[in-house]
Symmetry: D2
C-alpha cells in the first residue's frame, strides 16, 4: 500500500535531515561565474499531490537558476504553437554525449539529437523566435511558466543571463555551427541572447513543483497541453533529461525528470506528483548530486517509479 500524504511529509523531513548528515554535496557549476559562488550545502524539496496539497521540506522557498529545466518549458511552448513540425529540426534520441557536445552535430549535419542537449534547446528557442522579438519570445515562456505555476512572482535573473552571455563560448560555437547548417533561422546573437535569458529564470522548489503539475496530469492543474503531448515530453525527459547520465537516472529513479546545472530537478510521477528539488552541488554528469539521491529515495519510499 502506498504511503499517504502525511507519511510522505514525514519522509521528506527525514530525507532533508539525512542529506545534511550525509554531507556529500558535489561541486557547484564553475563555468557560470554567478553560480560558482553558491554554497553547495543546501537542499530543498516540494511535492505537489493530486489533492492540491504541496508538501515541502528544507529550502523549498529559496530561488535558484533553473537553467536547463527551462528547456522543458520552451519545448512545451513550441509544441503548443507549431506541434510535431519541430521534429524536422531536432531529433528525439538520447545523445550519449555531454550536454554541450558539438561532435554529433557534425556527424548529423546540424540536426541536434534531442531538444534537451544545448544544441537542440537552441533550435527550440530559435523556433520560438519565429515572428517574435526576443522580448516577446521570453514573455511567452514566462507567461507559460507563470500560468502553469499559477504564480506571477517568477522572474529572470539578468545578472546570470549577462554572466552567461559573456562566458558562454561553447554555446556561441553551437549557435554558429547550427547556423552554418541552416538550422538556426535567426541571427546567432538573438537566439543566444534569448536562450541565456531563458536559462536564467529563477524559481523555488515550490514554484517548480507547481509548474510541473500539468506534466503529471494532476487534477486541478492548469491544462497547458494535450495529454498526448504531455506524455511525449515525459518520454523525452525519461530518455534524454540528464544528458549522458539519462540511462543511469532512469535506472536509479524510474521517473521522467529534467535537471539544470543550477542544481534544480523537476521530477514527474504521472498521475501522482510533481516534484521540485534543489541542491546546487553537481555530480560528474552535471546533474544535482543530492537532488538525484533524494529523487531515488523518494521513488523507493513512495513506489512512484513508472516501472511498477
Amino acid at each position: 500500500m502506498p504511503p499517504n500524504p502525511d507519511e510522505i511529509a514525514r519522509f521528506l523531513d527525514e530525507l532533508c535531515a539525512y542529506v545534511h548528515d550525509l554531507n556529500q554535496w558535489g561541486q557547484v557549476a564553475d563555468y557560470i561565474p554567478e553560480l560558482a559562488s553558491i554554497d553547495p550545502a543546501q537542499f530543498g524539496i516540494a511535492v505537489a499531490l493530486p489533492d492540491g496539497r504541496i508538501l515541502r521540506s528544507g529550502q523549498a522557498d529559496v530561488g535558484f537558476s533553473i537553467q536547463s529545466i527551462s528547456k522543458v518549458f520552451s519545448l512545451a511552448c513550441v509544441l503548443g504553437r507549431i506541434g510535431e513540425q519541430v521534429w524536422n529540426r531536432v531529433g528525439r534520441e538520447p545523445s550519449g554525449d555531454r550536454f554541450d557536445s558539438i561532435l554529433l552535430l557534425e556527424q548529423e549535419k546540424g540536426r541536434p539529437r534531442n531538444p534537451f542537449i544545448n544544441a537542440g534547446a537552441l533550435v527550440v528557442t530559435d523556433e520560438l523566435l519565429t515572428g517574435r522579438t526576443p522580448a516577446q519570445a521570453l514573455s511567452e515562456v514566462m507567461n507559460f511558466i507563470r500560468a502553469t505555476a499559477e504564480d506571477d512572482d517568477i522572474h529572470i535573473d539578468k545578472a546570470v543571463a549577462l554572466s552567461e552571455a559573456e562566458t558562454g563560448h561553447r554555446n556561441t560555437a553551437l549557435a554558429h555551427y547550427l547556423r552554418s547548417f541552416g538550422n538556426l533561422h535567426n541571427a546567432p546573437e538573438l537566439t543566444l541572447g534569448t536562450y541565456f535569458h531563458q536559462c536564467a529564470i529563477e524559481m523555488t522548489c515550490m514554484q517548480l513543483a507547481r509548474a510541473g503539475r500539468f506534466l503529471a496530469h494532476l487534477p486541478g492543474a492548469p491544462k497547458m497541453l494535450s495529454p498526448a503531448k504531455v506524455r511525449r515530453i515525459n518520454a523525452l525527459m525519461m530518455t534524454c533529461g540528464h544528458y549522458d547520465g539519462s540511462g543511469n537516472f532512469a535506472f536509479r529513479v524510474g521517473m521522467p525528470a529534467k535537471s539544470g546545472v543550477g542544481g534544480g530537478l523537476l521530477v514527474i510521477a504521472p498521475g501522482k506528483a510533481s516534484i521540485g528539488i534543489w541542491s546546487p552541488g553537481l555530480d560528474a554528469w552535471g546533474n544535482s548530486q543530492i537532488g538525484t539521491l533524494a529523487a531515488e529515495r523518494l521513488a523507493e519510499f513512495t513506489g512512484w517509479s513508472v516501472f511498477g
Copy 2:
C-alpha cells in the same frame, strides 16, 4: 475510463485487420540467411492481463526467432545470480549508435554502453558462462524462460544458431575486441557460440507475453526477480531497448520494450499487461515496423503509457 478486456480483445482483432490492410511490412533482416526467407506479411499479438487471461489475435501461435529479446532474459539471469556487480563490466546508458557498432567500444575502452547492444549482451552472456559450460549456461537461460512462461515447449532453433555462427563476422569482431580489452573472460568462440544459440530461441507471441509477466509485476506470474530488479530491467528497456531508435520508441509508445531482428517485440505495461508482438518486417533501425505501430496504437487505445 480504461477499456475492459473484451474491448481490448475486439481492438486487437481490428488492429490485426488494419495492419493487413495497411500492407506496409518493412524489410526482413537479410544478414541472417535463415531469417531472410521469411514472408514479411505476418502479424501476431498476445496480451497477458492481471486476471490471468491472455488475449490474442493473428499469428500469435507461430514461432519466431526472438533474437535480441533474449538479452532481457540473459540479463535477468545474471542480475539474479550476481546482482549489481554486472555494472562493473557494462554500462546502462543509451548508446546513440547502431546495435552492432564497435565505435563507442573503442572510445570507452571495451566497456559497452548497455546490455542491450550486441557488445553489452556478449559481456552478459560471458558473465553467464562463469563457472559453467555453454550447455549449462544455455540451460540456465532456457530454464528461466520456461519457468517464467510456464511452458516447457520452448526450444532453440539450431539451424538459425549455426547460420549466425557462420555469418556473424561483426559479432565475432566485437567479441575479439572485448577480449583485447580484457572484458571477455572466456574464449571468444565459447561466448559467441552461447550467444548465437541464445539468440536462436524460438517462441510464439503467446509464450513471449507469458514470459514477460514477471516484468509487468502481474499477480499470479512466477516471481523471478525482486521488484527493484524488475524496475531496473524495465528502465533499461525504456532507454536502451531499441538501439538508436530507443528515444523514438519511448516517444511514440511510452512503454518499456525490447525488440529483436526476428521481428519480435516484448512490451511491458507495468501493473497492467505483458505483450508479445511479432511481425518480421523491420524499419530503418532494425525494429519491427508493424510491431512498433501496433504497440503505439495499443498504447493509445488502452492508455497504458507509463507517462500518464
Copy 3:
C-alpha cells in the same frame, strides 16, 4: 636527364592547352559568395627556377584569392617570431578530417591537429595578434609576403573579407569553441576578422611562385627563415597541406604544397622550383581540380617529386 628550362617552358604551354581541351574544371567554392561567381574555366601557372627565371603560361597574371595558402605565410611569421613554442597550442599531425571539422577539436580538448586546418590556422592567427592590433598583425603578414615575393603590389580584397565575415558561421563556431577551451587568447571577433582578411589576400601565380622561393631554398630568394624551419613548413605542407586529401596529393604529386579554396596552389620542389598554380574549380576535397592535375603532370615531366 632532367629537362632544361626551355623544355619546361614548352611543357607549360602544352599543359595549358591540354587542360583547356580536357575541359573538366570542377566546381567553384560556393560558400563564399564573392568566389561563387568566378568562371571555373581558367588556368594559370608560374614556375620560379634557381637561375632566377620565372616560366609562365596561361592566366599567370590574374589575381585570385589565396585563401588557405595564406596559412603558410602566417605560420612562417609566427615561427619566425616565437619559434617552436607555437606547437604548445597546435599539433602537426594530419587530421583525416575536412578542413572545417570541429569534431576532433572536441576529442582533443581544443588543440587543433595542425596549423593548416581552419581551427589550427585560427590559433596561429591568434598567436600573431599577441601584442598587436589586427591592423598590425595583417601588416606583418603582408610585409612578409611582399618581401618574399619582392613585389609591393599585393593587397587584401576587402569585399572578399567582408563576404566571409558575414557568412563564415563555421569559422565563427570554431573560434568560440577554441575560446571555450582557452586556446584563443583574443576576442573571437578580433581573431576572426584578422583571419578573414588574411585569407582574402589577392595574388597572381607569378607573385605566388616568387613568394614561395624561400620555401624551395632557391638561390637569390630573400632569406625569410632558417633552413631548418623551412624544411619543417615543407613537411607540414606534405602531410597536412590538403586536408583529408593530403595523402592523395602526396601520392599523386610527391611535392609539398598548399591549396586554397580560391583554386590556388603553391607547390614546392626543394632546390628546384617554386610553383604557383591557379584554376578555380575544386575537387571533392576542396582542392583545385585542374591545379592538382597540372602539378601531377609537371612532377612527371620534370622528375621533381621529392621521392626520387
Copy 4:
C-alpha cells in the same frame, strides 16, 4: 657540402655512443609476449649508399622482428602484381588514429584509410592470398625480401607468429570486421595467419638497409618495381608510415620511413641512402624512440631531408 661516406661512418659511431649515454630507451611492446622480454637498451644502424658501401654501427647484425615494416614489402608485392587496383580496397590517407583503431573502419564502411594501419595491411595481405595458399603468399613476400636484400638468410620466427596468433584479439576483431563489410575475401583465419607470419619476419639492420635500396633508387640495387610505384610507396611512408605520429616524424626527420613495434625503422633518402635502424624501446605512438631520434640526427648531419 654534404658529408662524405667516411664522415658519415664516424658520425654513426658517435651516434651510437650518444644514444647509449643518453639512456632513454622507451618501453618495449608488451602486447606481444615474445617481444616483451627484449632488453630495450640496444641500438643498431646500417646505411646503404649509392656506391654500394654499407656503413654500420652498433648491433647492426642482430636479428629483430620487423613487424609492421613488412607492410611495405607486402604492399610492394601487391602493387607489382595487380597494380593500382588495390586502391579499390584501401585508401591512401593518413588516419589520424592509432595503428589498431577500428573506429574509422566503421565510419568508412570497411575501407581502411591506408595500407600501413593494421586494417589496411590485412586487406593487402588478403589480396596477396588471391589464388594462393598462405604458404605460397608468404613465399612470395619472403622471395621479394630476399631478392631485394640479395640475402637468402632471412626467415620467419615462428614462435613470434604463434605468440601473436594467440593474443592478437584486436587484429582478429579487425579481420572479422573487414569481412563483415565484404572487404576480406579469404577466411579471417587464413588472412590473419598469413599476416602474423609476415609480421614475424626477422631481419638485421644490415639486411633491412639492403632490402630498402630499391625504394631509394640506389644504383646497383635489384629493380623490384617501376620508379613511379617506388615514389608512391615512399609517399605513403611519408604520410602514413608512423600511424598517428606520421606528421611528427615527417616534421622531425623529413624522410619517408616505416616503423615496426619490434623497434625497427626503415628510412629512405631517395637517391642517397637506404637506412635500417633498430632499437626496441618505443615512444607513445608505438615507434622506436631512439630509432626516431637517430634518424633525426642523421638527417641533420647529412642534409638528407627530402625537404631541402
